[in-house]
């Protein structure tokens, strides 16, 4: 076949020519839709060619049509396993452009929500790595606590998965007592469950044999491929946007960044597992800080930015400026200042960046999402060449590829 002309079988191969296997867009549920065409020599993969775009929804073109607060619903659907993280990142980008400063209490509440969504994403990723090696129980056990996280989201914003949480400058309402109760319940019950989940895998001989040494990438190659997030940290580089460019008062918190050595599947699993512990500690610190605000301070849940945040209804009915701001915001006629801004946050998969160019007017002129999944999936072809097919499957799930973020 003409396509095989440049593929050379390795020494000592028992095959006469390579086979083409289509690891097609319809995977067994969870992973998302992307396709790999593999050239195989028996069980060994020689070359892989990836195709993405099976769920391209044209977010960037859609965003040119919508005012800033309507774009939050698009950001939900980027990395849908941790939707509030994307929402908060987008709000911070808008605040950077509009020059709005959020009060400390709002920052700490945002930190709680962001770390909860990071835990929720790592729960899915690690349990799916378990499912792919054949261990289905861990997944079911951990989904129960994801339901508790969903209940917390419901208390804050009303929705489970695609949350559209928060507004430019803060939140739409103060966290209720039930929300704080549920967060406390989570902080008390979840550590035991996570410890049990880790005991299933961390020192399990079968799991270690399957994941150690497979799917490795060196630190130099990872940096060249612009990896970020847990995949880069598993390779040994401690780059975390929360520490390098702290946003939302992360500098007030005390946490460590777990780093691996070889960048293989086992290191990625362990880095994500340890990040869950660190996130739990951050949530505990943030919860105590929020509880320490008393009296009038405990009622602050948004910044004072009436041009971008809907004023209180009592003011709208009595004061002229509040009425005008309310009208302009609801009709979508607030003008964004001219300028361009790039803001990035530490998403669950890496550095999630938003590049926003505005020329005045109601909607952005250009909005580009710097999506970590899209960028590190390019390296899959290099990671997987010359490995076995079963290792390639585990690499696919341990890289945590979310199709919504990849194709945007």
């Amino acid at each position: 076949m003409p396509e095989q002309a440049n593929i050379v079988l390795p020494e000592g191969s028992l095959e006469k020519q390579t086979t083409r296997l289509n690891l097609g867009p319809t995977h067994p549920a969870t992973h998302g839709v992307f396709q790999n065409i593999l050239e195989m020599d028996g069980e060994r993969i020689i070359k892989a060619e990836s195709t993405v775009g099976y769920i391209h929804r044209a977010f960037e073109k859609l965003a040119e049509r919508r005012p800033l607060y309507q774009i939050t619903t698009l950001t939900d659907r980027l990395n849908y396993c941790s939707a509030p993280l994307n929402n908060m990142g987008w709000h911070m980008t808008c605040e950077k452009l509009l020059d709005v400063k959020t009060p400390k209490r709002v920052d700490y509440l945002r930190v709680i929500i962001m770390e909860l969504s990071r835990i929720s994403d790592h729960l899915i990723c690690n349990s799916i790595v378990g499912v792919d090696t054949g261990a289905y129980t861990g997944f079911l056990y951990v989904m129960q606590y994801r339901e508790l996280i969903y209940e917390i989201y419901e208390e804050v914003c009303g929705s489970r998965l695609t949350t559209n949480m928060g507004r430019i400058g803060g939140f739409e309402r103060n966290f209720s007592n039930t929300a704080f109760q549920k967060i406390e319940q989570f902080l008390q019950e979840f550590p035991k469950v996570w410890k049990e989940f880790e005991n299933l895998f961390m020192r399990n001989r079968i799991f270690i044999e399957r994941t150690k040494g497979t799917g490795a990438i060196s630190a130099e190659r990872a940096l060249n491929y612009s990896f970020t997030g847990p995949n880069l940290r598993a390779a040994g580089i401690d780059y975390d946007v929360r520490v390098h460019a702290p946003y939302s008062s992360y500098e007030d918190f005390d946490f460590i960044i777990p780093v691996g050595t070889t960048g293989d599947n086992y290191d990625r699993f362990m880095v994500r597992g340890e990040e869950v512990w660190q996130s739990l500690s951050i949530i505990r610190q943030a919860y105590e800080k929020v509880q320490s605000f008393k009296g009038q301070d405990a009622e602050i849940y948004h910044a004072d930015a009436p041009e971008y945040y809907l004023p209180a209804k009592a003011d709208v009915y009595t004061k002229m400026e509040a009425l005008i701001y309310h009208f302009k915001i609801v009709m979508g006629e607030t003008e964004i200042p001219v300028g361009e801004v790039y803001h990035s946050i530490e998403g669950a998969n890496g550095e999630l960046g938003f590049y926003l160019v505005s020329d005045g007017g109601r909607t952005p002129y250009r909005l580009h999402f710097r999506r970590p999944c899209f960028i590190y999936y390019q390296a899959y072809e290099e990671i997987v060449s010359n490995t076995m097919l079963s290792d390639a499957i585990i690499t696919l799930s341990s890289l945590n590829l979310i199709a919504g973020e990849m194709d945007a």
């Binding site: 549920a29 099976y54 044209a58 939900d76 969903y150």
Partner: protein, 195 residues
């Protein structure tokens, strides 16, 4: 002399609570057998053992994972075994946005399924394109395959997905044995270009 059995000697009366009790089909009953006609029982048997194919593309897929989890258990309705091979499955659940690039794949998976087959469009994107009225998104999978049940929502709550499965079960229960050979069904498939 049969041993006297002692169970349910005080049956409770549930007729005021609106609990659905399925009535027994008409037939001839005897010692250890029950004879009825095939079309009365095949619906009952089929609807409680559906093998779904979760075609999960995006966010609705994560809500499906929550539905299969232990909190909202879909397995209690008989859909314990989800399969990923179209040849073995009855119900194609399309969950998530279908882009134009993915349309031929959905169609191919549908064609590979054997009769009787049902299709459920879960979520706003699969039903009508959802919030994505763009150049790259298929505005509803009924552009490429015939759909039986649409479940709206973005994403639909697990209870809504279960409600959709219950409606599919109603359809299966009431479906006549000859439906797949009828002219109306053939005409429906022709409008989609399926032989």
């Amino acid at each position: 002399m049969p041993r006297p059995v002692r169970f349910n000697v005080n049956p409770k009366d549930f007729s005021d609570r609106g609990i659905n009790e399925i009535e027994m089909p008409e037939g001839h009953m005897g010692e250890g057998f029950f004879a009825t006609s095939f079309d009365k029982v095949v619906g009952l048997a089929r609807k409680n053992s559906i093998w779904p194919l979760p075609f999960a593309t995006s966010c609705c897929g994560i809500e499906f994972m929550a539905t299969m989890g232990s909190h909202y258990d879909l397995a209690r309705f008989g859909s314990e075994r989800v399969g990923f091979s179209p040849r073995q499955c009855d119900l194609l659940m399309v969950m998530g946005t279908i882009a134009k690039k993915m349309g031929p794949v959905v169609r191919q998976v549908y064609l590979q399924m054997a009769e009787p087959r049902w299709v459920m469009a879960v979520g706003a994107c699969a039903s009508s394109g959802g919030i994505f009225d763009t150049y790259s998104v298929l505005q509803g999978i009924d552009q490429v395959v015939p759909v039986d049940v649409y479940v709206p929502g973005c994403p639909p709550r697990p209870e809504a997905i279960i409600d959709g499965v219950l409606k599919i079960q109603d359809l299966i229960h009431n479906e006549s044995l000859r439906r797949r050979h009828s002219d109306q069904y053939k005409h429906l498939l022709e409008t989609y270009g399926i032989q």
